[in-house]
Assembly symmetry: C2
Homo-oligomer: 413 residues x 2
Amino acid sequence: MTDLVKMGEAAKAAAQQLAQLSSAEKNAALLTMAEALVSATPMILEANAADLAAASALPTKFTDRLRLTAVRVADMAAGLRAVAALDDPTAKADKGWRTEAGLFIVQQRVPLGVVGMIYEARPNVTVDAAGLTLKSGNAVILRGGKEALRSNIALAGVLRSALTQAGLPAAAVQLIEDPGRELATQMMHLTDYIDVLIPRGGAGLIRAVVQQATVPVIETGAGNCHIYVDQAANLTMATAIVVNAKVQRPSVCNAAEKLLIHRGVAAAYLPALARALQAHGVTLRGDAAARTIVPSMQPATAADWDTEYNDLIMAVKVVDSEDAAIGHINAHNTKHSETIVTDDYAAGEQFLSQVDAACVYVNASTRFTDGQEFGFGAEIGISTQKLHARGPMGLTALTTTKYQIRGNGQVRK
Amino acid sequence: MTDLVKMGEAAKAAAQQLAQLSSAEKNAALLTMAEALVSATPMILEANAADLAAASALPTKFTDRLRLTAVRVADMAAGLRAVAALDDPTAKADKGWRTEAGLFIVQQRVPLGVVGMIYEARPNVTVDAAGLTLKSGNAVILRGGKEALRSNIALAGVLRSALTQAGLPAAAVQLIEDPGRELATQMMHLTDYIDVLIPRGGAGLIRAVVQQATVPVIETGAGNCHIYVDQAANLTMATAIVVNAKVQRPSVCNAAEKLLIHRGVAAAYLPALARALQAHGVTLRGDAAARTIVPSMQPATAADWDTEYNDLIMAVKVVDSEDAAIGHINAHNTKHSETIVTDDYAAGEQFLSQVDAACVYVNASTRFTDGQEFGFGAEIGISTQKLHARGPMGLTALTTTKYQIRGNGQVRK
C-alpha cells in the first residue's frame, strides 16, 4: 500500500540534501540519468508496449502521447543533458543591500523543497519533471495518468537507480504507483510535505486540482487565446499570423482559438482570411456580422467564446473598436496569450497595456509563448495565474528566495 | 444585503481603471485621502468610541488595538503620505530581451487586480491596506473584525469620498459591512473576482483562511522564531540579542519564542542569561538539561516547541551541536525568522544555508524582520509561505508581471 506520508517524509529529507548540492553535483547526476535512460531503452519500450496494448481501445490522439520509441527515449535523455547545461537558479542571489541598522541582507534563490506533479498519460513528463526539479534542487513526487503507469514505473526506476549511482538520494524522484483517485486527493492535501503542486494536462485535470488542493497550486495551461486584427493591420502579416497561430499546432495551449476583426476591415478582408484558414482545414464559427460576410461559417454560440478547442476550429467576431476587442478578451480569455495585428503605434501600446494576460503580443503569433522560444531553455509549464510565476516557467519558477542577513550584534531599538 | 458578486464586479472594473493610472494620479489620491482622514477625525473617533463601548467587556490587549485617538488618526494619514512617497512598483519592468526570433520581450510589473484582506479588529489595517493596494494599482475588498465595524465604516467612507474627490472610482476601496461569517466564507471562494487573499491576524484566523479559501492566499504572520546560541558565541552579544528579540515587543510575530543553547556553553552561561530574561519578566520553560542548570525554569512540554506565545514566555533547549539546533528548528519553526549567535565563520554560514525560513540571521535580533527595517518603507504583511513572496512584503508583493512582446510579423516555424 502506498504510504504518502512516508513518501512525503522521504522527499523532505531528500530535499534538504539536494538544497546543499553544488551545481556540478546536480549536473553529473542529470548526465548519469540521461545515460541510464538510453541504456535501458529496451526495458522502457517493453513497459510502454504493455501500456499501449492495454490502451488500444483509446483514440489515436491519446495513444500518440502515450507511445515511446527509441527516438523519443533518446529525446528525453537529450532533454536531461540540455537541463544540465542550463544555469542553476539556486546559484544566484536576486539582490543584496545594507540596511540603516548596518545589516547586510542578501535575497538568495533557494529551492522550493518538494514539488508535486499531477499529469496525464504522457511518460515524457516523468523525465522532464524529474530533470527540472533536480536541477533546481527540489525533490519531486510524481503522479502520472494511470494508462502510463508501466512506462512511468520503468522510467522512474531507471532515474532512481541513476540517482543512487550518482551518490544522491533516490527519494529525490518518487512515483506514486497506486493509480487510485484517493491517492491523488490525498496528495493534494499533503501540506506538511509538498510545497507546491503543478498540474499538467487538460482543463478538467487542472480545474480539479485547483478546486480540491490545499497545497499551493501553480495553475498551468488553459489557453483561450485571441488574435485581434485591427483596422490598421498589415493584412498580409495578419493572414500569416492568424494561420500560424491557428494551424501550426492546434492541440497546444498557445494556439489561437478566437479571431476578433475590426469592422473597418472585415468586409474587405475576412473572405480572404477565411479562405486561407479553410484551406488548412479550419472550421470557422462566426457571429452574425462575420456570417453576413462569410456565409459558409457555422454560427457561433455563447459557449464558443469561452471554449478552448485545441483543434482546427476558430470562432470569429466582428468588433466595432479596439476597446470592444480588449473588453471581449478581458471578459473571456484564460489570461494566457493574446495578439493584436496593427501598424498603428497607439493601438499596439494600448493593447499591450490594457489586455490582462501572461503574454500580450503586437504583430506576432501567440505560438511563441513557450519556454524554449523565450530563451529559458526548458519549461515546467505555462502559468496562467498571477501569483509566483506568470507565463512560461523556467527553472527559476521552481525556486523561492530566502533572506540571509549578516549582522554584528544588532538589536532593535 | 451585501452582494459580494456585485462588489467583486465593481472591484474588477475599478482595478482595470487603476491599472492605467500614472503614479502621479495615484499619489495625488493618497494625499487627498490623508487630508480627508485628518479632517474627519471627530467623526472617526465618535464611531470608534461606539465600537469601544460595545467592546468594553473585552480584554485591554484587545481594546488597545481597537482604540483610535487623534494621534493615531494622524499617524494613519502620515502612513498614506509615506506610501505616496514610495516608488511605484508598476512603473518598472523587471527585464527585457530580444529572442532568437527577433521578438522584444519586456517583463513589465503590473497590479495583481483585486486584493482581498481579512483581518481582525484593528482599524489601522483598513487604512494601511487601502493605501498600499491603491499605490500598487489594485482595488481592495476589506473584511475587518466585527468589533471594529463602526470604525471601519467611518474610515472606509472617508477614503471612498476622497477617492471620488480625486477623480478615482470609489470601488477601489470597498468594505464588507455585513459582519457575518457567511460573507467571509463567500469571500474566500470569490475566485472570479478576487486575485489574492491576504489574511492578517492571529494564527487561528490565518489557518481558517488557508484551509477554506479557493482564492489564492498569501499566508502571513505566524512566528515561532528561534535563537541558537552557538558554543562559539560572543556571550555579551548573545544576551543583548536574546533579550531584545524576546522582550522588546513580545506580542509580535518576529519576537523570539525559543532559545536553543549549545551544551558546551550552557552550564557556564545559561544561569546569567536566564537572570537577564527573568529580570524583564520572562517566564522560562526548559527541557530537562536546561532545568538541571537553572532549576527555577518550569518544565517545557512537547507542545511548547510548536507554540507561538506572543508573550513574555520563552522555552529553552540544550542541544549537542549546531546540526541538532538546525534539525530542531527545521522541524518546529513556522519558516519566519531564525538567528544564530556565533563568532565561528563556518557555523554562521552553515546556519544561513541550512535553516529553512524566510529570514535567517547571524548575530542580529529576529525583530528586524519588518518592511520598514528592510528598507521597503511599508509592508502589507510578512509572508511565511514560499510561493510568490517570502518574508516582509512591500509594494512589489502586491504586483505580478506581464510579458509584453513586440514583433514585426513573426510566426513560429
